[in-house]
């Protein structure tokens, strides 16, 4: 479903070149969930942004559904791939009601039946329909992230790119949001490419995980390898050891 080959992203900053991603390849099958894990600055979010056309790709190929993505990405891309961002406080327009946020993609793509679709989208992510005309500041962090997920699903995409979708949320709200994502994935057969710094979250959601460091892929592991602590590289092991999960016996 998602194919990335030899991807490099280089930013120009003050005449210096910053290589955010260097020669990273990954492929995600349809219906699979793939995790990217690493520290900040390891390039994991940049890969998601590069797929969406939000980062300057300097080398490599990106394919969705077997075909190379066009540049600029265009409407067809948005219908198939959507992204959920980390911070629900920053990713929703503060002066747009939930209704406007959710109906905008429908208007752009000239999808009819807006009223019914917005109500259904709210119901799908477990929000009461009374929230429809509220503003983001009237919602809690977990509720906002639900709105962000609902917005991403408005066009019924096949692929969701999840950039730390729960790291800004409380533990119990994180549990609810992860449960919601799992349910939506099962119901709609979604393909997830998920970024997180939390190995336990990745392990819970993903079938395979790619460990990244300094913009490079360090090691790819299956879920079974991760659970059994069969990592080949020292860096992956150190991430595993430092994971909050290991703190209790």
């Amino acid at each position: 479903m998602i194919g990335v080959r030899g991807l490099s992203v280089t930013f120009q900053s003050k005449g210096r070149e910053v290589r955010a991603v260097e020669d990273v390849s990954l492929s995600v099958a349809k219906g699979e969930s793939f995790g990217l894990v690493g520290e900040s600055g390891s390039g994991k979010s940049t890969i998601l942004r590069a797929i969406c056309g939000l980062a300057p790709v300097t080398a490599g190929e990106i394919e969705i559904g077997g075909a190379p993505v066009p540049t600029p990405r265009g409407k067809g891309f948005a219908e198939r791939v959507q992204m959920v961002f980390q911070d629900p406080y920053a990713s929703l327009h503060p002066r747009h009601t939930i209704d406007r946020t959710l109906s905008e993609p429908l208007a752009i793509h000239a999808v009819g039946d807006t009223d019914q679709r917005v109500m259904q989208a709210l119901a799908d992510v477990g929000l009461p329909t009374s929230f429809r005309f509220r503003y983001p500041h009237q919602l809690s962090g977990g509720q906002r992230q639900r709105v962000a997920i609902a917005r991403a699903l408005m066009l019924q995409p096949q692929v969701l790119l999840l950039d730390e979708p729960t790291s800004a949320l409380d533990a119990s709200v994180q549990a609810e949001t992860l449960n919601l994502l799992s349910r939506l994935r099962d119901e709609r057969g979604l393909t997830f490419l998920m970024v997180s710094h939390d190995l336990a979250v990745i392990d819970h959601m993903c079938d395979r995980v790619l460990v990244m460091q300094h913009g490079r892929a360090v090691e790819e592991m299956s879920r079974a390898d991760l659970a059994a602590a069969r990592m080949k590289t020292d860096y992956a092991r150190s991430l595993f050891e430092a994971s909050a999960d290991r703190m209790l016996g």
């Binding site: 549990a175 609810e176 449960n179 819970h204 991760l226 999960d245």
Partner: protein
């Protein structure tokens, strides 16, 4: 020896919609040890930490039967006396270095500001002390960091700078409000071990405020679990797995585990009797 003792602390906000009680009768005492305060957003943990420094702005109001720091009654202290305590004897590390450092001032100037204004040190000596402080939090190239602006630093680096800044006056009590939540796990471990070493070497008291129960359990001696402004459970960190209160158990259980099963994670039952109290 008791460094800080708090009895029946209440923080109330008189709003147009009525009185909101953010902290409702919290009591604890602290020696030169590491005390963890855990809870979710809105549990009043941050307000509890800020109350100790009387950093609650109107319409917020602090009431307490007793709040004594090293023999000094914090409830009766004048604003002038509080200023002498803040930073000098009780320091606070905030959650996000992005918001607590001045974005248009070089890190070095911020570090030296206190030394020059408060301690009346000369430029060269202040610089020496600032560099020593950065080295204490294991920043390898302090000269570069001194000349950098906050946006040029990574999150972990920024948080270390904050910790260094707070530790320059050598306080007796450090209140760390989510000091590592914005950081990566490996950096988190580093920052925690730096904090740990400093607490041990300097014999400081530490109040460690966090939403992460497992982190607190590993790092602290004692843990207070807060929910809706009240302490629902107090326990030694090593006994955490034997927690009795359903909220503490719920907080522990709702976290995913590596190698755990992938069924839905148990959520918190907020309709139970304990949640309504």
């Amino acid at each position: 020896m008791t460094l800080l003792s708090v009895k029946d602390l209440r923080v109330t906000f008189d709003t147009e919609a009525g009185v909101v009680e953010a902290v409702r009768g919290v009591s604890f005492s602290l020696g030169r040890e590491r005390l963890g305060i855990v809870g979710e957003s809105g549990s009043g943990k941050t307000m509890t930490g800020r109350s100790v420094l009387r950093l609650i702005r109107p319409p917020g109001r602090i009431d307490a039967a007793e709040m004594v720091f090293d023999g000094q009654d914090l409830m009766k202290a004048s604003e002038r006396e509080m200023r002498a305590l803040r930073g000098q004897r009780i320091a606070m590390v905030m959650q996000d270095p992005k918001y607590s450092l001045n974005p248009v001032m070089q890190v070095g100037a911020q570090l030296m500001e206190g030394l020059r204004q408060r301690d009346r040190l000369g430029g060269a000596e202040a610089k020496k002390k600032a560099i020593a402080a950065l080295e204490a939090v294991q920043i390898r190239d302090p000269e570069r960091v001194m000349a950098a602006y906050p946006h040029e630093l990574s999150g972990g680096m920024g948080q270390r700078v904050m910790i260094a800044m707070m530790l320059i006056p050598n306080p007796d009590l450090l209140i760390a409000d989510e000091p590592t939540s914005a950081l990566d796990v490996t950096v988190q471990a580093e920052v925690l071990s730096i904090l740990d070493g400093l607490v041990r070497d300097r014999g400081m008291g530490l109040i460690f405020i966090s939403h992460d129960l497992r982190l607190v359990a590993r790092f602290c001696d004692r843990v207070l679990v807060m929910y809706k402004g009240k302490i629902v459970e107090e326990l030694a960190a090593r006994d955490l797995l034997a927690a009795k209160h359903p909220y503490t158990q719920g907080l522990l259980n709702c976290l995913p585990r590596i190698g755990g099963d992938r069924g839905p994670l148990p959520g918190l039952d907020r309709t139970a009797d304990w949640a309504r109290a």
